[in-house]
Symmetry: D2
Subunit: 338 residues, 4 copies
Amino acid sequence: MNTLGHIFRFTNFGESHGPAIGGVVDGMPAGLPLDVAAIQCELDRRRPGSGAAGTSSRRESDLIEILSGVYEGVTTGTPIAFVIANIDARPADYDSMRHALRPGHADATYMLKYGVRDHRGGGRASARTTAATVAAGAMARQLIAHSGISVRAYASSIGGATDAEGMARELREAQQAADTTGGTVTCVISGCPAGLGEPVFGKLQARLAAAMMSINAAKGFEYGEGFASAAMRGSQTLDRPVGIDSALHTEANHAGGILGGISTGEDITMRVAFKPIATMMRAVDTIDSHGQPCTLMAKGRHDVCAVPRAVPVVEAMACLTMADALLAARAAGQLSTL
Amino acid sequence: MNTLGHIFRFTNFGESHGPAIGGVVDGMPAGLPLDVAAIQCELDRRRPGSGAAGTSSRRESDLIEILSGVYEGVTTGTPIAFVIANIDARPADYDSMRHALRPGHADATYMLKYGVRDHRGGGRASARTTAATVAAGAMARQLIAHSGISVRAYASSIGGATDAEGMARELREAQQAADTTGGTVTCVISGCPAGLGEPVFGKLQARLAAAMMSINAAKGFEYGEGFASAAMRGSQTLDRPVGIDSALHTEANHAGGILGGISTGEDITMRVAFKPIATMMRAVDTIDSHGQPCTLMAKGRHDVCAVPRAVPVVEAMACLTMADALLAARAAGQLSTL
Amino acid sequence: MNTLGHIFRFTNFGESHGPAIGGVVDGMPAGLPLDVAAIQCELDRRRPGSGAAGTSSRRESDLIEILSGVYEGVTTGTPIAFVIANIDARPADYDSMRHALRPGHADATYMLKYGVRDHRGGGRASARTTAATVAAGAMARQLIAHSGISVRAYASSIGGATDAEGMARELREAQQAADTTGGTVTCVISGCPAGLGEPVFGKLQARLAAAMMSINAAKGFEYGEGFASAAMRGSQTLDRPVGIDSALHTEANHAGGILGGISTGEDITMRVAFKPIATMMRAVDTIDSHGQPCTLMAKGRHDVCAVPRAVPVVEAMACLTMADALLAARAAGQLSTL
Amino acid sequence: MNTLGHIFRFTNFGESHGPAIGGVVDGMPAGLPLDVAAIQCELDRRRPGSGAAGTSSRRESDLIEILSGVYEGVTTGTPIAFVIANIDARPADYDSMRHALRPGHADATYMLKYGVRDHRGGGRASARTTAATVAAGAMARQLIAHSGISVRAYASSIGGATDAEGMARELREAQQAADTTGGTVTCVISGCPAGLGEPVFGKLQARLAAAMMSINAAKGFEYGEGFASAAMRGSQTLDRPVGIDSALHTEANHAGGILGGISTGEDITMRVAFKPIATMMRAVDTIDSHGQPCTLMAKGRHDVCAVPRAVPVVEAMACLTMADALLAARAAGQLSTL
């Protein structure tokens, strides 16, 4: 349940304030020179305190240590385990919140599900777990790059604003108001060979949706023309083919690069919606685990908006999903284009 | 890849114009009296020609035949295999389209992926495969009902209209224009115990998203306040807890019944966007598999909008997902509420 | 739980006296011309009443009907579902045994596990379910043949006898004594490329062992020198390499074609032990499901020894296992030898 | 492929001479007080240099460090990741063997499969990886103990000898002859509730066989009367039921505690055959990876017989298998006896 993928599989482990987070990547083919600096670079993009506006001031070096699966810089085909130490954990920040149920957080659901929980910094529910995902995604990225696939995401809206200036203003204003804000991340997968994805339950968009909806604070997923197409006519969204070689070429790629669950070879485009960060730097009325009213004043270090740091996470999830789909296609013998 | 679920597993098989479609449900607990009439009733809701406006005139009795796993009306704990014969298949309708790449369909992607394909009626890519899903979903529904879970979906918009009259008009106008239209289906899961779903990659919303995005023509998924929350402030989406017993109770359930990937016990609300049906009853310019231009005039029997017949499919996918999550929670020993 | 394999997956369904048994093969690559006559031929080898000495007189035509996944004689890459009707079912033979717990059978364990059970002919526990396995194995055989892999099994002992005459005598004597007898089946996989199997938990011998121990009445598995090597010295079992090209060549292949869980390219040799058939044509004292003593007189049609009809089942399980291992190796990019 | 289990899942990672080995246990129910000292105790039993006759002199403290999934001594329901550092690694011992293909080892098969390999100490193929398995097994043992299940294994033969004195002599003589020897381990699972295991492909003996055949040097598996029953008559192996309550009681438990793939509630008995350790402390003629003849003189530290250190590994694999079967039974609602 903490594993993503079927052939290229990533198992994520760790809690926000335990000794370390990390993961195991199983199914990585042998013989890939693994660029650890590139992995570290992805981690640095996601890192708290990396300077992006409206992000938490928690300071984590987020240095990856690889424990297995790589020998003399090359993958060996065996599981790649890695750990990222939790250094700047300040569990005491959370002492007063041990029994409080923070609104919009998983405190109550973990308690109801498990009976016990590591409450410190959100424990397993913390977005800190996405650091391990980013590291694994960076490995997947290096694999799919060999098949010409590249993945890029960007903040496409914050609090309703869609231009850079507006987005910066939204962040600033929310922070000044001791509030938080939502936004969207757009992701584009380029260079994807046609033929990835499986019919019916293994549709590429279903895998991508599951991946994206696994990210903390994600509330929606769409690809191609998405929700907008629900208000359109067929004559408007028509994806008229204009050529076919190793890929299908259409007039406008309304479909977003996937037809019938299978990649067309055109750009795969998708968008992920993030709700506002639940923790605001203001007093909030709530209850504790016994149902008693209490007032919370957040003390941890928190982002104003999920979007800036979600961008590399969205990319990582896309890379992991595409790596798995690529290996499935290889298994099926779709070799000519792969 | 044609199997959904981890503990409660449904394998879907079949093509639109082969001898039969069907499936295997594995993991159904023993001792459940299986109401076959109720399954048939769900199939009748989805059936083409069931009279709903704007639906295909293909006539299929869609009678389910159960081959295994049920003895004297009660599930035995062994796999429940079932078939639904394809009776009103008219493959000749598709002869002229054998080499054509229908815009917005999977013709090109199947060809690029597999090299060969059963082109008749869309083959495996046909929405006819959802009949088997509806049958399996009806079995899942009977299981989760024992834990108090119920699932209901409805058409929430067609072509932008959100009231019944407007939706009917959209369907009518699109049909008159030899066009098609998109829409959305809203789904509500009630009575769900708190504690279903898993952290990180097994989040309940991720499973639901994958399930919904597996439905033909689905282009987007959101839950709770979804995409709208991306333009909101944290102070607006705040899910203030007001009580806790075997479930969490909040002021407004902005979250849509899931926090941190785990059900709160409140209603789970989600919405699925469907693009307009790709096949319009008009001449369409396209190319064939050799890249030669050709003109297509649809001859099959096609819906104007996916939404009316998607409603029971959305419900079925929700039931299948919840059955799997319920059994996972049982395995984990979350017994008191289940 | 009724599915074998990870990439090439076979789901088996059905009970001895239900309407049909069958299965779904998912993961079969597209473009394989499927020889249905060859599948039928394998079914005929396993069929009761096929004339082999000491086999049940149940008459089943065991005709396979393929429902999906094959178009114009070629696999399409989508799930291949098939059914085999139960024609000569005589459930009344089992009426008197409805509550009896037949010694050595699964009657009690199914009842304890499920509370309910289809008792007729052993229901799901019947060896009849292996017919579906044989059909799926015959499909797998056609896939692996393209990579040069062939699988052959034979009866290597019956009741202690290892030559043909002795085995025939054992069968005859057991039958005359209204008794049954055990035996072993030896299986050899030839032409297997080096490099199939995975380290640690995906070892090829582990997969083969699980496959073989899934066969009704199997009580033991060994490969290479097996149990005999437990009484040997290292100097006796030494597998001295004498050459290496796309495969490893050793002096004597003591290892049985697998080292470290991965195929060497030499013949894979294994042996499966089968206990005597539990049902004997004599009165047997036992108890019923309420613990009351009763006497059973078998009325069904039963084999004297599992071995003759197990031979094609062993082959089928080996073919299914190798097909899955082959596709896993393809996924990992081990292409040059595959 | 490096993961064992379906609901209770253990992923094993690491190489003999990398920085660490370890694993991730996913699916452990929440609320279990985890006795880390008991885990360490199991590790100490398997540890090289633990003083057992005929075992390697490699000195590893084998201290387990738990990174996640446990909070204040209690499992939280989230993945339990752990590492065991490789301290006494002496990779230089293996420098001369970098290109040599050690007879009976996985050197050639890893090279043929992956193209690259970590040759040091056998890399991933080293029995050192079983330390992580033993740690995970010790966690599983604590879970199944709550359902009354206990697991014990013992050396049942070494080099043909079956009494303690004979076994000691075999070890001594083999060591003096710079040779190695094989043996068998017997394992008994007591207190297992009836009803664990699944029909057809999830049979309990199939899972146990796969688990045992995953252990380094294992060449055979049998349960109940195993291979011996292949030479018996049905009248000899008859498992006459004598009583039934929450378990089946038979006269002699010939079956070894499993009928039809499902536990009867009686003791589950099995035996695993281990070949002689491949590395002998003598000069051995072999070839290198270019096919050139060479002579090897082992320099590492090696056991004389796999059996003494395999005993806790066999137990661990049995515990892991039973934990998974137990949770599957819980998922299926078999609650009364569990």
